[in-house]
């Protein structure tokens, strides 16, 4: 009675078994829409100095400004609308997280496959570096890089990429090693297909499932790491305020009860990261062959 499902449809139906994961996915879609369309959706451009009036500073959520506009989430000390700030902040946080993940994925994937396929000294060298790097916590490496090289968006991305590529390399290499033993690789080699072709067109698709899971989790890590670095004052510059920087701005006002300057950006950050993790969790369960009975 069970109809023959295409792998994609079966994947989706298994994924959809978790209501939480679906919720996460929905939230994620909303967050991405906000991030992409922030200039259109935000009630105010918080970085357009002409629109700001410092007299509107530190308004509580729901209060009205002198010009009669209601600030749903209040304003910060400069009079910037929190809601708008959060929209723009999401854009930057998400943007930095995704860009760094993509670059790290590219580097890590290539190096991991090279290591697995060619073996020998290339493998040993690459994996030694990976091992050493992975034995140090990401935050430490990122901190030191930024302390030495200074601040700036590009430096933050470089730090994030440096911290992440090793995970991908290790994951890809592990899968590729398994795949290399399989017969289709032998067959392709016998057919004298070129090495890069074997690696990228034949082995790679089979190595993807664990990679997808790792990449998804890593986006969340990258976003979280960037937020932490910005909070410590070593991340994004003031001109490109990510959510971490917004939270940092509001920290000093926490003690005097003006919690919303820190709190709401924090909630936005939290919701984004949780949504990604929910999706990643379900992806992992669905794609894990060892849990299939």
């Amino acid at each position: 009675m069970a109809a023959e499902q295409t792998p994609l449809r079966r994947f989706w139906s298994e994924f959809a078994e978790s209501k939480l994961a679906l919720l996460g996915l929905a939230v994620l879609v909303v967050v991405m829409v906000i991030a992409v369309a922030a200039p259109l959706l935000a009630p105010q451009n918080p970085y357009d100095l002409s629109q700001l009036d410092i007299m509107d500073g530190k308004l509580a959520p729901g209060e009205q400004s002198a010009a009669g506009k209601t600030h749903l989430l209040g304003t910060d000390d400069q009079g910037r609308d929190m809601l708008s700030g959060i929209f723009y902040g999401l854009r930057i946080s998400l943007g930095v997280g995704l860009v760094s993940t993509v670059f790290a994925l590219g580097i890590g994937l290539t190096l991991g496959m090279v290591a697995a396929y060619f073996g020998g000294w290339a493998d040993t060298l690459i994996m030694r570096i990976v091992d050493i790097q992975l034995s140090f916590p990401a935050i430490l490496i990122a901190l030191i890089l930024l302390a030495v090289f200074g601040q700036g968006v590009d430096k933050v991305v470089i730090a994030l990429v440096t911290v992440q590529w090793a995970y991908y390399a290790r994951t890809v290499r592990a899968s590729a090693l398994v795949e290399r033993q399989k017969e289709y690789v032998e067959a392709a080699t016998v057919l004298a297909l070129s090495k890069p072709r074997i690696v990228f067109r034949h082995m790679l698709p089979n190595c993807l499932p664990p990679l997808i899971v790792v990449a998804t989790v890593q986006v969340a890590h990258a976003i979280s790491l960037e937020a932490t670095l910005s909070f410590l004052g070593l991340g994004m510059p003031v001109t490109e305020p990510s959510l971490g920087l917004l939270i940092s701005n509001g920290f000093t006002y926490l003690m005097s009860g003006k919690y919303w300057i820190s709190f709401y950006p924090g909630v936005a950050l939290l919701v984004t990261i949780m949504a990604i993790n929910l999706v990643a969790d379900q992806l992992r369960d669905v794609l894990n062959p060892r849990l299939k009975k």
Binding site: P137, I139, I144, V148, I247, L270
Partner: protein, 328 residues
């Protein structure tokens, strides 16, 4: 076993050497070492004098040798801000950081593993799902934000616990510790919980995953077929198997806890090495940064080495080696 021990020891020494080279190159070759090692307030005359005194005009390999000699004897420069040897400064702050890290780790282990066990044994129950949901939340929350919330709630709103600094200390084996005083505990509590939350969630998830895989194994079926009680199957058979990878992870994560302490210490103004590092970065006290790096790298390499050894002792398959064909 001895051969393995010696091999790992020499490997660790090599990694340490390599790291020292990387740090050295980063400071002396890539960065401007004069900026790093000479007080930025110094004037031109001072800088020239310092350049010669520090040997910065000599070839790079000579400088590296000087650097190494200094590292081994414990001379890693002087702090600009405090004027004391950088290494001494860092070591004086270590007890505070270690105390925080250990407390957090203990919390994470003794709460995380039992919860993970329950979640793994009953994955579809209300309790199981609740624990997993909690672990996702704990895992996703950035440490600094949790710290903020803790302060907001417990210190500002409720006023139960202090939000910064370290409490009163007493000397334990010559090392100042604060958990033995009530005041110390009250100051330790919030930062430790903050630091523990992420690791706790990690341990819950790890334990759960291990348990879920373990119950599918044949030896569990066989144990049940012998008529063993569930508590024995779980408490002895499953637990002993999963403890090996879990202990390894705990060991490795300890290093990570010390690193994450940087954030917690900054938020709670806990006077440990992490806060020192951030302050030093902000104040451009670069000798301290370099010294911190070397200490942490050494610590990490040591932790990795110890964990490797402990793992090979715990797993009888590694400890006793494979003895194939030991009779039919």
């Amino acid at each position: 076993m001895l051969a393995y021990f010696l091999r790992r020891l020499s490997q660790s020494a090599l990694v340490l050497l390599a790291m020292s080279l990387i740090v050295f190159l980063g400071v002396y070759a890539i960065g401007n070492p004069i900026d790093l090692l000479v007080n930025p307030q110094a004037d031109e005359v001072e800088r020239v004098r310092a350049t010669v005194a520090l040997g910065l005009d000599k070839p790079l390999y000579v400088q590296y040798w000087t650097f190494l000699k200094g590292a081994v004897t414990g001379d890693l420069g002087r702090s600009f801000v405090f004027g004391v040897p950088a290494l001494d400064l860092i070591l004086s702050k270590m007890p505070a950081t270690l105390e925080l890290a250990l407390f957090a780790m203990v919390l994470a282990v003794f709460i995380g593993i039992p919860l993970g066990l329950v979640a793994g044994l009953k994955p579809d129950s209300m309790v199981g799902r609740g624990i997993m949901a909690f672990s996702i939340v704990g895992f996703s929350l950035p440490t600094f934000w949790v710290g903020l919330i803790l302060i907001m709630f417990f210190a500002v709103q409720l006023g139960w616990l202090p939000s910064n600094g370290r409490g009163d200390t007493v000397l334990l084996f010559g090392v100042p510790v604060s958990f033995l005083t009530v005041d110390g505990l009250s100051h330790l509590f919030l930062p430790a919980v903050n630091l523990a939350l992420f690791k706790l969630s990690l341990l819950i998830r790890l334990t759960r995953a291990q348990v879920r895989e373990a119950v599918l194994q044949d030896y569990v079926k066989f144990a049940r077929a012998k008529g063993l009680s569930p508590s024995r199957v779980i408490g002895v058979h499953i637990l002993k198997n999963i403890m090996i990878p879990i202990v390894t992870v705990i060991g490795l994560e300890f290093g990570s806890v010390i690193a994450f302490a940087i954030v917690t210490e900054s938020i709670f103004a806990w006077p440990g090495t992490g806060k020192l590092l951030i302050d030093s970065i902000n104040q451009l006290d670069r000798p301290v940064i370099v010294a911190y790096l070397m200490v942490i790298v050494t610590l990490f390499i040591a932790i990795n080495f110890v964990v490797d050894m402990v793992y090979s002792l715990l797993d009888p398959r590694v400890r006793l080696g494979q003895a194939a064909g030991a009779g039919h």
